[in-house]
Structures are given as C-alpha cells and as structure tokens.
Symmetry: C2
Subunit: 729 residues, 2 copies
C-alpha cells in the first residue's frame, strides 16, 4: 500500500514535471488502455492476443534474467537471448499497462538495469561480418530493432519508474545507445551514414531513435529521426525515406519480401508520430503513401504468401511485421478489406490501440472481402523505373496470378532477372521464382546468413524463367551497372476476358534488345485461361539464348525424343549459376515445329508449347550441382536453347485437366495446343497463331514499337489489321 | 398422364409378379427412400450430397449417349467413357428414386439399351495387358466395377421398366455379361478362376454377380456369389473371402492402400446381403470382421492419408471407397467414431440409406472423436503371419506415428522390405515409404499402370528404410520365395511414456538373422519423444549391410566431413534398385563414434544419430538415375554402410526445435544426443546407452531371445538387471 501510494505520487509528479506529456504515448495511449481494459473478456480474438501477451510475460518469471556478453551471430545463443530479452520487456511493458500489475513493470526495469550495467563495457560485437557492426548484436540493424521494442516497453513503464531512476537510465544507457545508433563511434562512424540512408536500415534507425525521443520527451531525437541528422529533411530522415523508398504505387524496389520488412518500422513509427505529432499528418503524407504500401503488400501475395522477386524467403500475411502493418493501417485508414486480411490470414492482433480497433470492428461485422486485381506496380520514387505487372484471374473457379518483372535492380537484394515471369495457379506455385538461398537463423547453414549459393545461383539470371544470353547473367552480374538501368513497361491492360503485360529491356545484355509480352487469355474452348508468352530477342550478331521455365511438379511427357542421363550426370556449365545445374536430359524436335512439355502439379496438368526448329535444343534441368553444403533445393527446370541473331520464343502455357486420386479420375491430361506458329516477326510486328487440337485457331497480333495507331500487316495471303498495341482474332 | 398411369400399372404388376420382392433392394430400400425424401431440405450435408447426385445426373442430359467400341486402356478415351457411363446410370438411377422424375429412369434405360446393342458384338478387349481381359474394359476387374454400379442403377429403375423389356435386357445382356464375369469364355476361362479367387478381384466379381442376382431375383447368382461357383463355400465365394482375405484384426495382407480398395466391394455387397438375406447375419460374421477391417483403415492412416506399405498411392479417408465403407459400417455397427471420420475427413455422404443415417446422426450430435492408438495389426488369415506395429503419440502437443512392418509378403502388391520403419510427425511424413511408382490413369505414364520402376526400384529393398544385405533385395527379389515366409513379431507393448515394437526376420537373407527393435520414449528432458532404433544383424560370414533412412526435408548438417559430388554424379550400384540412386555425397566419421545427420522438414528439425566406427561409410542419396521416363521422384536418403559378420545399427531419431519464418524464430536446432553407445551386443542381449548433451544418460536393455524371466548382464563394471524383454534406465 505504501509502495502503491508512492507510485501514484511518482505518477503525478512525473505527469506534472513534463507538462502535457502523457504515457504511454507510442502504440498505446491512456485512452486506448482504458478502452481495452473495459473491453477485456468481450472479444474472443483480442482476448486471445492479450492472453498470449500475458503468457509470454508470465513465462519470463520462470527463468532468471540473463544478459550475456555478446558473442554469437544470427541464430546463436547470445543473439537469440538478446532478442528474447527485448520481447520479454515488450510483453511485460504491455502486460503492465493492461493489468496494472507492478511485477511486470519491475521486470522491465530489472532487465533495463542489467543492460545499463553491461552496455558501457561493450566494444563492437566480435562477429565482424557487417559494415555497421553493433555492440549487442553483430549488426546495428538488430540494435535498432532492439531499441524499437525496448522503447515501447520503456514507454509502458515510464510512469512506474521514479524520475531520478529514469534520469540515470537515460543518461548512462539510453542516450549513449541512441548516440551509437545515430552516429556510431569516432573510429567507425558508419552508423551515421545508415541513420541518414534512404534504405530500410535507415528507417529502423530513425524509428528507434525517434520512438525513444518521444518517450523521453527529447525533441532533438524526434527532429533528427524525422528530418535526418542535420534536421533539414534534405539529407535523410523518415520523411525523406517515405518520399524515396516507395514508388507512387507503394511498391518497394527490393520486392514484396523486403517491403514486408520495410513496412514494419514505417508503420510503427508512423503510429507513434500520429500519437505524438498529429500536426505532421503522417498518414496523409504523399497522398497517403503508407496506405498504398500496405495495399501493395495485400496484392503482391498469392494465398497469403508474398510473391517472390529478388531475395525472398517464404513469408506470409501472418508474419509479425504484417500484424503491425495491417492493424495500424486499419486504425489510420479504416479500409474494411484490411479487416478481411486480419481475420482470414492473421487472426491475431497487436496488443495496442490499433489492434483492438481491428478486433472490435471485425466483431462489429465491418469486414469486407479483399479484392485481388490485375495491376502494374510501378517502381522508382517517381514511378518511372519500370514495374511489376500482375494479372489475376477473374473467374470464380480459377485462382491464378501471372507476374512479369520489369523493374530496376532492387538495391543489394536485387537479382539479375529482367523480364522474368512467375505463375501461380490452383493453390500452387507453378512457375516459381527461386527466391533467396538462405536458412534464416539456422546457424549450421552459414550462420543463418544468405548462403554462398545465393550469389552464385539464386541471383544469377539462369536461376530465373527469363532469357540468359551467351551463358552470362544480365549486366554480367554487376550490381553497379545493373543499378544504373531499369526495364521499361511497354504496355499493360487488364480485362475480364484477357489481359496483357509487355515490357522491354535494352541494357541488360549489350547488343541485344529484349521484349517480352505475356497475354492471359480466357479462350472459350479451353478449360482454363491460356498464357501466351512472346519473348523477342533482337541482335546483329549471333548469340546463344537460353530460356528456362523453372517449375514445380512432376514430368509427365515431352513430345519429342530425348536422351536421359542414366548412369552419370554432368552440369549445364561452369559459371554464372550454370555450374549448379545438372542436365537430366536433352533432345531436339525434328518431328514437329511445336515442342510441348507437360507436367503435373497438385491435381492439375500444365503444358508449355513452344515454336521450335530442329536447331532448338531442349534440356531438362535439376538443381544441385557444385553445392558442397547442400544449400540448394532440387528444383526442376525445362530449358529451350536457340543460337540466333534475332529470335523469338513464342510459347503457350496451358493449365488443364484434373488428376484426382480420391475418385480415381483423370481428365484432359493432354495439351490442347497443336501448334504455335510465329506468322510474322520483325522489329515492328509479331504475329503468333495458336492452332488447337479441336481445329480452332487464335491469332495474337502485337505492334512492337508503335503503341498507338492503326496497323496493317500482310502475311501468308492474309491481312491483319488492328488498332493499338495488340489484337486477338 | 397416360404414360404415368401405364407406369403405375407396370409397377403394381411387377411387384405382384415377384411376390414379396421389392425394389430398390441394394443400397436403397423403399423405407430408406421414404425417410430420405421426407428429410430433404433438413440436413445441409446430406442435401449437398443429394444435390451433387442431381447435378451429375442432370449434366448427363447435356450430351448424347455415347457407348464407344472398346479400344483404350486405363485413362484412355473409351475406358473413361465407359466409366462415365456407369456413373451416369448410377446417378440417374438414384436421382429417379429420390425425385421420381422419369427422365432419369429413362436415361438409365437408354444407356442400358445402347450397351445391350453393342455387347453381343464384342470380343475380348484389344488391349492385351491383362490375364483376365474384359470386353468393355481391358481387364475384367473394371467390368465387375461397371456391373456393381449398373446393378445399383438397374435396381433403382427396375420397377420403371416393363417386365417384357426387363426380360429382354436380362436375356440378351445381363445374363451373358454375368456369365462372362463368372466363367469367361471357352477359349479363355480365366475369369472363372478369378471369380473363385481369394483376392480382391474375386470380391469384385462376387459382389457384381451377387448384386445383379438380387435385383433380378436370380438366386443362383446369389448362391454362387456367396459360396463360389460350386456353391459349397469351400472353393471360393464371398464368405470364404471374408474368412481368408482379412486377418483376425481386420488387416489385409497387401496393406492399407489395398485394404481401402478391397473394403469397397466387401461393404457394398455386405449391405446388399443385409438388405436381401438378413438371415446370413453378414455384419456379425466372423466376430464382426467387417467392423474390424474398417477400424484398421481408420487407424492405418496419418492425418487422414493411408500409411504406405507395399504398392500404395496417396489415398485419403475421403476417397470414394471409404465414403461407402464408413457410411455402411456406421449403419451396421453404429460406432460413433465413424461419424467423426465422416464429418472430419469426408463431409460427403453416399446417397442411400446408410449415408443418410450418418448425416442424420451427425446432425443429432452423436459423433465422438476418433481415438488413434498404438497397436499391432496381425497379418495372415489366422493372425500368425507377423504384423504391422503402429506406435502413436499420446501427448496432446505431439502428432506422430511410428510403424514397423513385419508381415508376410503381401501378394502381388508386396514389396521386399522386411522390418522397414516409417515415421510421421508434425503433420509431415518424415521417414516415408516410397509406395508405388504409378501415375494412375495418366496415359502418358505407361498408360496409367505401375511403371517399370515400380519393380526395378519401389519394390526393391534398398528403396526402403531397412537393411539390404550385399546389395541384394530380400529373398533376392523373388516373390515365390518371399511368399513362403513372413517376419515374426517378437514383442509389442505400448504405454503413455514409452512403447516398443520388436520383430525378427530370419528367411529374407540366407545366413543372416535380422532383428529390429524400435522404442518410442518420451524422455523427460527432450522437447519431443525420442525414437531408439536397434537393428541387429547376425551372420557367420562377412556381408555388406546397407541401412538407408529415406527422408523428406532439407539437409541441415552432418557431424563429419564428406565429399560432395560437384560436377559429375554417378550411381550407387547397377542393379536391385541401386541403379536408380545417385550418390550425392559420401564420408566417414573419424572424429566421433556417433554420426549425426540433421535435416529440416516443415518447421521442425530431425536428427538421426548412429553409433559408427571409422569403417562405417555414410552416403547421401538422391533418387532418379536410370529413369529414362522420369517416373521417379527426386527423394533424398541417408545411408549407413557397414561391412561385418555380426553388426548392430543403433540409432536415435530425434524430433526437435522449431523453424518459424513468420516470427523469425529458430530454436533447439541442434541434436541433443551426444553419443549412442552399444554397451553389450550378443545373441542374448543388446544394451544401448544414449548420452545427451545436457549430461544425462539413458540405457536401453533388450533381451534378444528370451522374452520372459530375469536377466542379468555385467558390462563395463556395471550390472544391468531387468525382467522381461526390455528395460530402460
């Protein structure tokens, strides 16, 4: 009782001392806490999330506090322990706010004390793999994430701690910590560069220092976080990051996987800014760019899993970052489709004002089904650096997505795969992007970092379903060169019956112009929409063009004779990713001018039919050569190789049939495409005719460099006339 | 109106003409039809199943009736069309009963007419792959399945057809058809052998003829179906099949996959017998053997998918056979756990008396959760031919199953894999059995039959997680020899903390005695239960013992140096299945006497730790060599090879840790087993000690040939004393 009185007194004194500043002020507010406390026991979903917080907080009392001297990299003991510690503080801080039980608050204080005792003795972390090494962690990035969580915890228990104790903690620990994050040390000031960097590491740094500043009432930190070290807003800071990291469509240049990561500190910090500096109108900033970024994340996924471009692991909409992003975005923008995402994929809520708002409004029946649509997501701060086109099925019985990537490089996490396609159908990833070679936090796997094979294979062009020229990756695998250029979206249009994405790349390979067009066409006589894939290559000199289709599934048939590697197997090449690929089989097609490969994935068949000649080489690929540490997956690929000056790979990709073992029913197991014929192909026009087994034909007319106006082409006694980029007859 | 009157008259006449014989009399009864009709619209699940019947029936009116001249094998056009036709008749027949709409009945009659017109002109099917070729299908088996469905349809519309028309159909079509199924032709009487065979093909034949006989009122057919061609019950027939095909535990010697197939005609025919010959008391026969068979199917599955032994594809509890089996078994035995299976895995009901009873009683809340338990499923008609042991986890947070197969060969679908283990955990098949190499009904894949690789790989011993001796399959891959023998269950015991299966095989390899014991032990200091696997081999002469663990998942680490195949890869051997295996890497362990392999499957780690010496060779395997048609899956294996006279492979198999990408949490990723030590190993005793990283030890004492009495063994200054087969200290 005495202690309680003392605490209450402290509370009042604290409130008075800082004028109108109230705590908590970051994710929780006094009003929010009151609303949540009043609602406890009334919302099953939110109650479960609160229960999880309390369970995690309570669990921390089972073991003594351990704040080890930093030693291990990602996945190692000290790394994981320091992560555990910030989670414990985070959970205990929130638990204190929701229950008022002081043991939670005291746990936070005790852990802070332990860090305050250890921190002054720390030099740089002994693991020296990062250019911006931290002290507690091997890289400062983790140090920032630690500070974000710890600031939230500190905010929650701020009023519990006596002012003089706070002063000591801030002076001896928090201020040196923030200074290190902002400025590094005299010997290694690299952190300062990162703090002002237009990069997600910079966002974490800004958010961590800014959030600490809000709790401490240190305006200087807040200003530097928002406007950079020099506070001008011209050389760094959160506002500049928002203006430059995201495209006008909310796309982040590294891809969906890293947008997922970048959005976390953005939304966290934005929520804190809204609570502490509403005058900034952060959620309205740049035409509500944060809403667009969350929208891009909602769209750039298939069945709740983020589409893979560039470095990417398998992350879903229920990952921790998206819990924050969705809840905070809903609280800010009240888009009812976010409620659908929350209930369909997450079913968890962050234990704060925003999370409660989502749980409350789901319970009130305000959710509306998310609509997935075809769109071009522009890349580049001004939207001028190409983009990623996504075509979505519109038929209720079809769940497919087709993507064509024609962006800029994507910073350090970019891969050399201009004009790559991916295809998702029937709940499976049919034509996958390999993503990254990384076993996150598994120490035995290169300490959880990107493996060597990420660079030697996953980043290389041959790892992707696009054309590699002369066995060399785009831009010869040089990021400096690749970063200077971007592909260009030539045309994008979507409709109910058919959609098209067309893009060009003229810089990736010197002397070779690349132009790929994919059409998604719901052909009336086919079971499922057909993809027509036209990949044009133009050059004055002869090259070897390799177009692989990496696929998931089991080989069913090839319509030409092939030689299978039976007793020994060797590699496709010796560098640029080729060294990692076993050649399982090879063949040529002398019987037909269309080569067809059929495979089975899930309970559906897929057939790739390509116009070929007897000079076209086909190879069946299997990943895994030159992989001493077993880091690669044994994925399969189907490669078309053509030596030529100009060449166009014209293919159809069919989804067809059913393979139902439960009722022992197999239907429509064979391709319906009889022939793919390139009728016309020159710099101006490409006309591709697809003949079907049923006797029907469909012709796809493309204007290759004049997107507008009337076109007229005579070929084979026929005249093709159309207006604009494309026509289908 | 005139027609309706005529029909009603016909109905009355028909009923009178056959005395008390009422139709329908197979799956539906007049009382059942009345109950179902009255309940339409009141049971969502059953209504959906009825709606499906009507949809299928209605769909048949969109296309003309086609009864093609037989030409294609399984998966081909005529094969699938004849299958479609019996489904159309089946659906239309039932639709007629449920709605009374005559167009459905007429559709059945029209199709029957078409068959009656075609049938007399048919010789044997042109595809000559079967020893018992059919006329409509390439094998008589399909002909029987056709007749089962058609009999049901005929039963449903029997009263709709005028007697003289029935007489004509029966005389010109049904009787010749039944005669062919029962007797074949003079030139090829093979069907008669099958009709009397103790084999699931015999069951289909008996059921088809018996069901037709019940509809037609032809007692001769019924008697022959029940008691064989000679009606004695001693040389064939359904009753003898029930007595000999199933073990006293309801296990079927070919395995769960074929029990699933065999149970279909058994339950169908049993239901018809119950409706037409209740005096046979078919469901009580042989201590309710049909109930036990269904129970075996419920138990021999993991997450609703049948466990694979011998020839097996991926079949689930919602396959069409199990819809019939579960519904009919519930109707007969009223086991409330069957309702749980129906609602949890099937959510579909057969549109007849039994299916309605299930739907009705689920709605009435009578379902009880299915209990999966550890058990030994004996093989052989009298239960004396070994068996399959299954250990199930009992902890609510663990979902695992461990199996040891020690059965007889399993007829023509048996594989040469005595003492093989499989392991299921965390919703994944961790140590799989390859099952069959077959792409059912995919014509491009060897016409949908078992592929050549089924014999050359899937059936061979090396394809399984058991010991291959000197590179030769058990019984040298000779079915005749293998069929003479069976393994013996030495011991089986299950408990809450630990369970054990122990079995011996002395005939599979001349001069080598094999004895495998698996213990599933919920060790207190481990996260999940530990498997201890002790495989003893005894011989006077030196042999090469190969023990592979085939696994699903991605390699994480090996605790010894190894050489990886980098630029070329070759095979493990040149015959007996070895020719299909690429050697990805090999190594020996000179640093530690325990070799450990850790891999990742799903979000969990698995470690296999084995007592080895520097003479033990370890190899990493990848399936796919010598596979010209791409029929094999690229599965992975970890092989231990030891040259020795006597040798014991003592291993632990751990399930541990978590790999959660969504919250970026990796924990307990390393094996907790430091050492596996074989302390004592002789003909009488094997004692294995497992030392853990945390400093604990656990010793497993096994009496190898005296299952009873007190045992005392001195070793290394310690005395081990225990009573019975095993002890753990």
């Amino acid at each position: 009782m005495k202690k309680l009185l003392l605490t209450l007194t402290t509370l009042v004194v604290a409130t008075l001392a800082f004028g109108q500043k109230q705590h908590p002020c970051l994710l929780l507010t006094p009003e929010g806490v009151a609303e949540i406390r009043a609602a406890l026991g009334t919302n099953v979903g939110f109650d479960a999330s609160v229960a999880e917080v309390l369970t995690e907080a309570d669990r921390s009392f089972e073991e003594p506090i351990v704040v080890p001297v930093p030693k291990d990299g990602g996945g190692g003991y000290t790394h994981e322990k320091h992560k555990d510690n910030y989670y414990v503080m985070y959970y205990c801080g929130i638990a204190y706010q929701l229950t008022g039980k002081e043991e939670y608050a005291q746990k936070v204080v005790d852990i802070l004390d332990a860090y305050a005792a250890l921190y002054p003795s720390l030099d740089f972390h002994p693991v020296t793999l990062s250019k911006t090494p931290g002290r507690i962690f091997w890289q400062t990035l983790n140090e920032c994430v630690w500070l974000v969580h710890t600031s939230i915890a500190y905010d929650c228990v701020y009023d519990y701690i006596a002012p003089e104790k706070r002063e000591q903690l801030e002076r001896d620990f928090f201020r040196p910590y923030a200074d290190f994050v902002m400025n590094g040390t005299k010997e290694n000031p690299a952190n300062n560069k990162t703090f002002n960097l237009i990069h997600n590491h910079g966002t974490w740094a800004a958010a961590s220092v800014g959030m600490l500043g809000m709790v401490m009432g240190e305006e200087e930190y807040i200003q530097q976080a928002l406007y950079g070290s020099d506070k001008t807003g011209k050389n760094g800071g959160f506002m500049m990051q928002l203006d430059n990291l995201l495209s006008p469509d909310g796309y982040y240049t590294e891809g969906a996987y890293y947008l997922r990561y970048a959005i976390w500190p953005m939304m966290l910090f934005a929520q804190c800014i809204e609570h502490n500096k509403p005058e900034v109108k952060i959620f309205a900033h740049r035409d509500a760019i944060l809403s667009k970024a969350v929208e891009a994340l909602m769209q750039l996924n298939y069945n709740g899993v983020f589409m893979k471009f560039n470095d990417a692991l398998t992350k879903q909409l229920d990952c921790q970052e998206l819990l924050f992003a969705v809840d905070i975005a809903y609280n800010a923008y009240k888009n009812p489709m976010l409620l659908d995402v929350a209930q369909r994929y997450q079913n968890k809520f962050i234990p704060c004002d925003a999370g409660y708002a989502v749980a409350r409004d789901i319970a009130a029946g305000k959710a509306e089904p998310i609509k997935l649509y075809s769109a071009m997501w522009r890349d580049g701060a001004d939207g001028s650096q190409g983009g990623i086109g996504v075509i979505r099925s519109v038929r209720p019985d079809v769940n497919s997505a087709l993507t064509l990537k024609a962006t800029s490089h994507g910073l350090s996490h970019g891969h050399y795969d201009k004009l790559v396609i991916s295809y998702y159908d029937n709940d499976n990833v049919v034509l996958p992007d390999y993503g990254a070679s990384r076993f996150l936090n598994i120490e035995a796997k290169y300490k959880g970092h990107y493996t060597r094979e990420n660079k030697s294979f996953a980043m290389q062009t041959i790892a992707h379903s696009t054309v590699t020229v002369d066995g060399k990756s785009h831009f010869d695998g040089k990021i400096k060169e690749s970063s200077k250029h971007h592909s260009d979206v030539y045309y994008f249009e979507s409709g109910d019956q058919r959609s098209i994405i067309s893009a060009k790349e003229n810089a990736a390979v010197k002397g070779v112009k690349m132009h790929r067009t994919v059409i998604y066409d719901d052909v009336e006589w086919l079971q499922y929409p057909l993809i027509v894939d036209v990949f044009r290559l133009e050059s004055d000199t002869e090259h070897t063009y390799d177009l692989p289709f990496w696929y998931n599934g089991h080989m069913v048939s090839l319509n030409f004779p092939y030689t299978k590697a039976l007793t020994t197997m060797s590699t496709l090449g010796d560098k640029n990713g080729y060294q990692h690929i076993w050649v399982e089989a090879e063949g040529r097609n002398e019987q037909s001018s269309t080569s067809c490969y059929t495979f089975l994935e899930g309970d559906r068949f897929y057939s790739i039919s390509t116009a070929t000649t007897p000079t076209t080489e086909m190879k069946m690929l299997r990943l895994g050569a030159n992989d001493p540490d077993f880091n690669l997956r044994p994925d399969g690929g189907y490669l078309l190789r053509q030596k030529a000056t100009n060449h166009t790979f014209a293919s159809t990709i069919e989804s067809h049939g059913v393979y139902n073992l439960q009722v022992e029913k197999t239907a429509n197991a064979k391709s319906s495409v009889k022939d793919v014929v390139v009728v016309v192909d020159n710099a101006d026009y490409t006309i591709v005719r697809v003949d079907f087994v049923g006797g029907q034909s469909r012709t796809y007319c493309l204007a290759n460099r004049n997107p507008e106006g009337d076109h007229k082409v005579k070929a084979g006694g026929k005249t093709y006339k159309w207006n604009g980029v494309w026509a289908v007859e």
